[in-house]
């Protein structure tokens, strides 16, 4: 009598050990595929959020540098004009230059405070990402 060919279902309806192995391999293949797709999607979302945040950060960065410089220039200019008016070259210029520097630092710290408030409002108080909760696998 010829043997039943390998891999075919026995008449009782049970799976042969080879079939079970094939199924399990397919299952794990599928599982890893799904995981891969999910990770890709998550990465895409994160990348998009990062992009938005980076654009915001860039806007603030551009602001801070120019505000710092502008305060120093205005301070120096005020000092220079007062010097010319009172004939006290160069003392008022030096004084107002330093004051301008202080004003620049103040501008930057204020802008940074605002940035932090902004981020806190957007992320609901927790800066950065939540850790994934690993309870389902």
């Amino acid at each position: 009598m010829p043997e039943t060919p390998k891999g075919s279902t026995p008449p009782s309806g049970e799976l042969s050990p080879e079939d079970v192995a094939v199924f399990e391999r397919r299952l794990s293949d599928l599982g890893s595929k799904i995981d891969g797709a999910q990770a890709e999607k998550a990465a895409e979302i994160t990348a998009q959020e990062d992009k938005a945040m980076r654009a915001r950060g860039m806007a603030y960065g551009l602001r801070m540098s120019s505000e710092f410089v502008a305060a120093i220039i205005v301070g120096g200019l005020i000092g220079f004009l007062l010097d010319k008016a009172f004939g006290t070259v160069p003392w008022l210029f030096l004084l107002f230059f330093v004051l301008g520097l202080a004003a620049g630092v103040m501008n930057v710290t204020r802008a940074f405070q605002r940035l932090q408030e902004d981020i806190a409002r957007q992320t609901g108080g927790n800066i950065g990402k939540d850790l994934p909760d690993g309870d389902d696998d």
Binding site: M58, I78, N107
Partner: protein
């Protein structure tokens, strides 16, 4: 190309990166002793205004309950600015919505028109950005004094500062206040100017390398790639600078409404 546009090319076949910012006088006009010549800059400003009005008119003409594409762009634009105004000034800040919306759409339209190859970028001129920043600065002063009277000066006197450093802090606050129109205008102007010069320089590299001999010619695609990437960055900057300008306008106007920090 160098022959037909001789004026735009410097030595060695390198296109002159500054040429694009030249003002051309189209129709000389003398208004009450002031030089009000219609220039290419004026033309682009008019084009921007026409673009905005045309777009908003067409977009809102349907007034559908379920907005179509154009209408939803217009609605998003409105929501974007309205949220910005409400967030920084509160509900009473909506008085300034027309001003803020106009500034944003005007600057955005000018920046984006400037991104069209060969177009003139109005916002790359300090005169224009300084006028816009000056407008905001004067509005803050006028509204601040009109609404709060001398209480507006509280802006320069932060609360909770010991009396012996108060004069110093007040001086610093005043300098900080007067540095606003400078940083406000220079930021927009410098970003647009620098971006467009960079684009032009990298474009010029492509032409120079193509004109060179042998192996250098093969390197021509490299600056072209760079110019392409920079174009994308410039679009981001064009939007971002309009956004930053508007956001700061809101912030400054907020000081006029609520002087105490």
């Amino acid at each position: 190309m160098a022959a037909e546009e001789a004026g735009s090319h410097g030595a060695g076949g390198m296109p002159d990166p500054i040429h694009q910012f030249e003002i051309h006088r189209w129709f000389p006009l003398d208004l009450f002793g002031y030089d009000a010549t219609f220039t290419n800059s004026s033309a682009y400003m008019l084009a921007a205004v026409a673009l905005i009005i045309g777009f908003l008119t067409v977009a809102t003409s349907g007034r559908a309950l379920v907005p179509g594409r154009l209408q939803s762009i217009a609605e998003q634009l409105y929501e974007f600015i309205a949220n910005m105004v409400r967030e920084s000034m509160g509900e009473q800040g909506m008085k300034f919505f027309p001003l803020v919306f106009t500034l944003f759409s005007f600057i955005l339209a000018l920046n984006m028109l400037g991104m069209i190859p060969g177009a003139f970028t109005v916002t790359s001129h300090l005169a224009v950005t300084a006028a816009l920043a000056g407008l905001v600065f004067l509005t803050v002063l006028v509204v601040g004094f009109a609404k709060n009277g001398l209480h507006f000066l509280k802006l320069f006197v932060p609360s909770g500062v010991p009396i012996y450093v108060l004069p110093l802090v007040t001086m610093i606050e005043i300098i900080s206040f007067f540095s606003r129109p400078l940083s406000h205008s220079v930021r927009l102007f410098a970003n647009m100017l620098a971006g467009h010069i960079t684009l032009k320089v990298f474009g010029g590299f492509v032409i120079m390398l193509l004109g060179a001999a042998g192996a250098l010619k093969a390197m021509a695609p490299l600056p072209l790639l760079m110019a392409t990437a920079l174009t994308a960055l410039e679009f981001l900057v064009a939007f971002l600078q309009a956004y930053v300008f508007t956001m700061l306008t809101c912030m400054y106007l907020n000081d006029a409404l609520h002087p105490g920090h």
